[in-house]
């Protein structure tokens, strides 16, 4: 029996109900990512879903499979149609509640029910024509099929359609002279504005300004409109008494499971939309292989999602990097010039782990990521400067707290620690911390200016941000295991502008 499109385990669902934003979110800029993900979907209150890490591999795979189905645009487009209709439906019901004039109230309600029936039927039909593979969707499809074939739903749908059809066919005419209005049925009189358009047709050029006045259409009616509607009801009495009865009988029409689905599915849709912005810019996402217990990690052609959002908005290119740990490798130590992508790399690795652990695809061409129990981050904080403890003491206090919480399944991310003391002290303290990390055997990313710790032992992988060799002012934002080599001055500028002989031959259109 279908329960939820988002949670395979009830325990995860319970967690999500009381979830608050995890502390490391701001360090890793995941808060910004989640803001972007949910910015157009406030009404669904999606953030708690993004705050909740899943407990086991099965629950993650349940989501991965559903997300894969939704990456099929045929399916996501259909779900979006459903979402639009459900949203409009909620608007209509709100309108019905607010208005006081009887025939208006009843009509907004009827239109809401019509949208609901249409949304459910269309979705049922759409899903049956599209190939779906995930356990979650297959079970939801079965639920929908049973529901739309139930008597309750069928009779609701038939009645709604008949009434809508009757109302839409009504056409009437008003003859206005002075203060007198006559209301009558329409008798095929011709549209006068068409005649005017035909006369001036020969002057028609490109499109011109639209002179139609936009009337501020309030949903309620004034007494003249109400009077006219009463007369229309008198011209068509059967239709309007049927409307009265429909309203009286159908107040509890919506199905709870379907309404919950409408909210939960937004988790996936928001992520699919989010990924598509990047994909349009030539970047990749992949479904990471999830393991529980393995220390192997890799992510190729990956990037920082939060920075990526900004770069895309500014129409700037995003630089991808490769990260991997194999064998006994556990710790990335990242050094190199400032503003070169070091902190970005640390955040990227944190984000990779987090999004993998909530069942989402991650930035990159391929990735393997483990389930972690705790994300432990150390980033410099402005506010701690006012603290009674000195900066160095605060650093030690915080890192000690993190080390005490850490288990071999934790992920630790350290960004520029011990920057407020002498180099000698910083080296000493860093080595001490590093030894504890070795003992814990956990995965760690450490951004530092202390080159010495990059070569402490075989668990450490040294990576460095890089610059254009002949122009050290220019950052490449590449963080790599090895530096690259340079080019002669004039040719390297020509290459930068793609103006060498070979490049030009490719560029000029024949």
């Amino acid at each position: 029996m279908f329960k939820s499109i988002l949670f395979k385990n009830d325990s995860d669902k319970m967690q999500a109900q009381k979830a608050a934003m995890p502390e490391f979110f701001t360090d890793l800029n995941i808060d910004q990512i989640v803001d972007t993900l949910t910015s157009k979907k406030h009404e669904y209150d999606l953030k708690p879903f993004f705050y909740t890490k899943l407990e086991d591999v099965d629950a993650i795979k349940y989501r991965q499979e559903i997300m894969k189905d939704l990456e099929n645009e045929q399916l996501s487009e259909k779900i979006r149609n459903f979402e639009d209709k459900m949203r409009t439906m909620r608007g209509y019901l709100g309108q019905s509640d607010k208005l006081s004039y009887k025939y208006q109230k009843e009509r907004w309600f009827l239109d809401g029910v019509e949208l609901y029936c249409d949304a459910v039927l269309t979705l049922t039909n759409d899903i049956s024509c599209i190939e779906i593979k995930s356990e979650g969707f297959i079970s939801f499809r079965e639920y929908l099929n049973n529901y739309v074939n139930s008597d309750t739903f069928r009779s609701l749908d038939t009645w709604t359609k008949k009434l809508e059809d009757d109302l839409s066919k009504i056409k009437y005419a008003l003859f206005i002279k002075g203060n007198t209005i006559k209301v009558k049925k329409y008798e095929s009189e011709k549209n006068y504005s068409q005649e005017i358009e035909e006369i001036f047709e020969k002057f028609k050029q490109d499109s011109v300004k639209d002179y139609r006045v936009k009337f501020s259409e309030l949903p309620d009616m004034n007494h003249v409109e109400a009077k006219i509607l009463d007369f229309i009801a008198a011209l068509y009495p059967e239709i309007f008494s049927d409307l009265d009865e429909f309203y009286a009988q159908n107040s509890n029409y919506g199905d709870k499971i379907i309404i919950t689905f409408d909210r939960e599915i937004q988790f996936y849709l928001s992520y699919v939309e989010f990924m598509s912005q990047f994909k349009r810019n030539g970047l990749s996402f992949c479904y990471p292989e999830i393991s529980d217990g393995s220390k192997e990690f890799y992510a190729y052609q990956t990037f920082d999602l939060a920075l990526g959002i900004k770069l895309i908005n500014d129409e700037k290119p995003i630089v991808c990097n490769d990260f991997y740990l194999k064998g006994r490798e556990r710790i990335f130590v990242i050094t190199g010039p400032n503003q070169g992508g070091k902190t970005t790399s640390a955040r990227t690795i944190g984000q990779l782990h987090y999004f993998a652990n909530i069942g989402c695809p991650v930035a990159g061409k391929s990735a393997k990521i483990s389930i972690f129990d705790k994300m432990l981050t150390y980033f410099e904080r402005e506010e701690s400067i006012n603290d009674l403890r000195g900066k160095l003491e605060d650093d030690l206090f915080r890192i000690n707290k993190l080390l005490n919480m850490a288990t071999p399944k934790s992920l630790m991310i350290i960004n520029e620690i011990f920057s407020s003391t002498t180099f000698k002290d910083a080296l000493f303290l860093s080595e001490k911390v590093m030894e504890q990390i070795f003992d814990l055997d956990l995965l760690c990313v450490w951004v530092t200016f202390i080159d010495e710790i990059a070569s402490m032992n075989e668990k450490v992988v040294s990576m460095a941000s890089t610059v254009v060799p002949d122009n050290p002012a220019v950052r490449t934002y590449k963080v790599i295991r090895k530096p690259a080599e340079g080019l002669s001055y004039a040719i390297s500028i020509a290459e930068k502008y793609h103006l060498t002989y070979n490049m030009l031959k490719e560029r000029v259109k024949s």
């Binding site: 009437y172 009189e189 001036f200 103006l499 560029r507 024949s510």
Partner: protein, 502 residues
Amino acid sequence: MKTFLMFRNRDFDLKQPLPPSADYLVQDLELNTLFNAMSSGDAFIFDVSKKTVLLSLVYSDPILYRQEILKDCIKNPSTIRNIYALAIEGIESEKKTYFGFFNKYPDAILHSSIEVLNLFMGTLKKIRKIADEESDKFESNGFKRFFNMIKTELTDEYFEIIEDHLKELEFKSGMLIGADIGSGNKGKNYIILKPNEKKQNWLSHVFSKEEAYTFTISDRDERGAEALGHIKDMGTNLVANAVAQSADHILNFFGMLRNELAFYIGAINLYEQLSKLDEPVCFPVPESSDERIHDFDELYDVSLALTKKQKVIGNTLNLDEKNTVIITGANQGGKSTFLKSIGQSQLMMQCGMFVAAKRFTANISNGIFTHFKREEDTKMNSGKFDEELKRMDEIVNNLKKNSIVLFNESFSATNEKEGSEIARQIVTALIEKNVKIFFVTHQYEFAHGLYEKKVDNIFFLKAERNADGSRSFKLSAGEPSQTSYGIDLYRKIFHEDLVQKI
């Protein structure tokens, strides 16, 4: 109704963006001098002339179409200026009424539209009169078609029908409005209906026997009267829109007439000024872009002539079959002037104008680009070279085969060895991609390297230097030589300074 004076079968779009190369072309070829001469101080004509010159045509048929029309204009300048004045009169009459103002009442929109339409009819009648009286004197297809259209579309009967409708639209005897039931059961799709024929008198509706309900809003019910006014406004909305849009369409017709005549007015102005200087002009022969043709007599720098207000020296050359022309030689020897005249004539030909030469034939280019050394750039060398290549990159983004690129001392912001190598790579690649090139250079290594290759379609020109060091400002065929005679120039300046000091 289309004026079709700029293109045989489409409108001239003033909003079309200029090509990315436009700013460089204007600066490098000193085109503002040309546009100023065309505009005679009229900002609108300046704008249209600039766009027309920079939005080059790339086929000979549309070029010849404009040439024919321009020939008619040069023969009948006062008729053209009269029609242009009427187009402006039409546009101005819109400003005399409240038409076009932002308005939220359809009733007010309707009435101001009727008013402006009445004025428009007056101006259209005047244009008809010119067509009746002057059209015999025009020979071009463009003008023949234009005058014919005026005569067949704007007949006396048509003017009468319009005036009848403008009266009927006042709704003196009541208004019939149709509507459907929309969301929330409110009325929607309000439209004015024309009552069915059988009821001759609109008033008879009120008393007919059909099923109907009538009510009257009492005189004291102000909100009721407001609500009724609102319904009438919603009803009138579409008709008012149709009338106002018709007025806009006619206004656009005047606008289009003005747009499409402005270039020709500009060309007449230029023609008259060059005639006064006794400078020759001719209608060029445009050849296909696949050809390599450049053959001219007394081609001169039109901006230089306009600035100096006198006849200037021109060049007579035949560069047929040549894809690439490398120009070397004496400083102040007329190299840049020649390069400018090549660019100007290409643009003038490809906008359908006459060119500044006694005789001119050239192949059409699919795009015209300039890459001139920037004198004013005083930044450190590395930045300057970077800037040069950045501009080249922008050019290449828009480059197609059979385009033309004019280089003036390009890639010289680095040492000669590196600069020559970059120039060589770029020029070789462009030649292989069938891009036509004129290149003024002092880089001996680059120019000589190409000369040594002895390729048939590369031609070498040299600025002449007389034995006494004076210049003729004419170019002729010649092998690149190692010195640019800059020493002459220094000597001249040094000498002048000396004289001044004494």
